[in-house]
Amino acid sequence: MSANVNTSLPLEYQSGQSRMNILGFWIFLGAEIALFATLFGVYAVLSGRYAGGPTHQDIIMIREVMIQTILLLTSSFTCGLAIFEMRRGNKNELIMWLVITLLLGAGFLYMEINEFIHYVHIGASMQTSAFLSSLFVLLGTHGAHVTFGIGWAILVIIQLIKRGLTSVTARKVFIIGLYWHFLDVVWIFIFTFVYLKGLVL
């Protein structure tokens, strides 16, 4: 496998093993799409089942959701800048943009947790109705992914600092970039089919 090196490609694609890891991650994202599609399907089925509890209009906090959305979409943009800097070989700029990405992600997470606490506070907990069960699990799964991504990216940043920009660390950064953009895409669907739909329907 080590013989399979192609230096004309970007750093993260140079070794045969890295190319396989990246393809493998794309396939993993395919599985993630199936996972979130199922959760969206469950939400679509249960979203009207309030069981006498609060409806979506009763609990929605559109201003906070807008801020969350802007934070997460911006973080996806800064993540793209990080990869851009990686391609130019600028390790410090790469780390800087990664850290900014994670701070934006953490901000998103902070607001989402507050949103959850607020919901529970006004009597809209996971146990209240089928609608709320599916809402909490869909948002919670996305939030757990963001949390996991932050922890994972911190490990990769440590490796970047320790080892510099090698074909292995570059591949790790690239893969986490894919993951981060994917979470952003999922959020766009959540924003549309959970919040916007909840606002108007």
């Binding site: 396939i27 199922t38 249960l46």
Partner: protein, 658 residues
Amino acid sequence: MGIKWDEFFITGDPLILGAQISIALTMIGIVFGLTYLKKWNWLWTEWITTVDHKRIGIMYIISAVLMFFRGGVDGLLMKAQTSRPEMEFLSSQHYNEIFTTHGVIMILFMAMPFLIGLMNVVVPLQIGARDVAFPQLNALSFWLFFSGAMLFNISFVIGGSPDAGWTSYFPLAGKEFSPSIANNYYAIALQIAGIGTLMTGINFIVTILKMRTKGMTLMRMPMFTWTTLITSVIIIAAFPIFTVALALMTFDRLFGTHFFTVSGGGMDMLWANLFWLWGHPEVYIVALPAFGIFSEVIATFSRKSLFGYKSMVYAIVGIALLSMLVWVHHFYTMGSGPAVNSFFSITTMLIAVPTGIKMFNWLFTMRKGRIKMTTAMLWSLAFVPCFTIGGVTGVMLAMGAADYQYHNTLFLVAHFHYVLIPGVVFAVFAGLYYWWPKMFGHLLNEKLGKWHFWLFVIGFNVTFMPMFFLGLSGAARRTYTFSAESGFAPLFLLSAMGSIVLAAGFAVFCYNIYWSLRYADRNISSDPWDARTLEWATATPVQHYNFAKLPEVKSLDAFWFMKKNNEGLTLKDSEIEEIHMPSNSGQPFIMCVLFGISGFFLVFEWSIAAAVAALGIFAGLIYRSFDYNDGYHIPVDEVRETELSWRNKKGEAHKHVS
């Protein structure tokens, strides 16, 4: 904290007490034996930490055979209970638990690991690769499966087994109607094993797409590799659905949510839909690789290339697509309405088309072939009529209107046993007899193999054929007993007697393994069957790096034509190079233990303890992230020595073409 301490171990049943004692004795025996023979170190370095795809495959197969035994004993207990009217051998509760564990174990812990084991052993060899794309992930897959299987299996001595059927329909499987922790085992053990399966799917897709040797285009891949690829795609599409369904079940049972409950706006039919959205593709996840095995075995022993190779490929792709569009046929009677039922009737019947194409291709492969009646071939031959019975009754069941008559009767049970036993069990037996020398360097005894074959096939037919007629006369499945007035007694007794013959066949199989390990001739050719594909183009048993020189492929059935044209088989000294191999790792096994502990706590609803154990899982992931071990290189001398040790033997591969 849902359990009382005096309920922790199951007590009060002599059968279970016997099982507990035998488990304890077996464990003491294993520990004592390993210590006495000083084998702990060997076990750890050679097996537990291995990342070699062949050894991982062998561990999958050993686990699967053990699970086959466990699931088979469940089956025999059921047959004993229903052998006479009003039997009091098992209580109704015990019967419920046994049919549940029988189904789960046979499908998820026997059929799947058996096939995944064979895929592990064979696929990298067939594509001319030295390992899978992610060897350590492969080990993790195995250990997660193992963890899930063990967790599921301890349920019957600690805490109680799941008892809501392998489908675990809500509301029965919910907290309201199954308040004990037993069904938590179902939700959590299958979740752990399922993560492993998903990773296997990713691993094999990347392996097959990226690691094929020079010249092996997609349309030159052996059929087993093709079916593995398509199966892996189905795994990626279907398993996440099960992951979600099980997670929601866990939430409902542990944290009081309302996904599938009767109260709080939940919808029990949502479970049925999600379960079968995974469950039906799952049938093809186990059937397709089995079809691949038959394709290899039939081509080899008919001494012809597979007939209609391209149509075979299109057929498996078609089956894979259709497999996603038929799930409602499992519950026609649950109020979907005529329009929906008609749609799913049609898609279901459509599956018979590609399957029929495959059937005819196998038959035409045999036509005018010089057929060798080896044990592996016998299994493939028996598969054809038996599976056809399963398929035709499947088309009967596919008709939504008629299904109201068959639904939940033994007719259905007979049908899916006629599909899964010929379709999967015959296949893994065929594959085992065929590929056994690749794993162990000797053949399984053919004479014992024929005893195994005839007892098993006759026993299978005698066991399940009566169940078609019992079902048509109204015997419901999952009922623990019946009255003498029902008139079911003679056929039930016949079926029970058949199951004894079936069990005898399995016993001969186990004896065959023992006999062959001890006495079989080790001095065999590296290509004992005169086979066609690349796994035979190297030593038997396979050296740990698979190929000293990666073979070059010029056609389908590459090895056959290499032998015919006498090219590409020899190895010049100048061609020997250092070989890069991945290092062993204990991390996957430790992850297995941590998943097992965390899952066990979660089963008992000790969420905090489970969370603490889960921290260990994260520690394992962090360790892996910082692990930069890049493997090692096998020096040229070692490769040369290994190659000389098998290449100059009598019966060398290229002297073989007849």
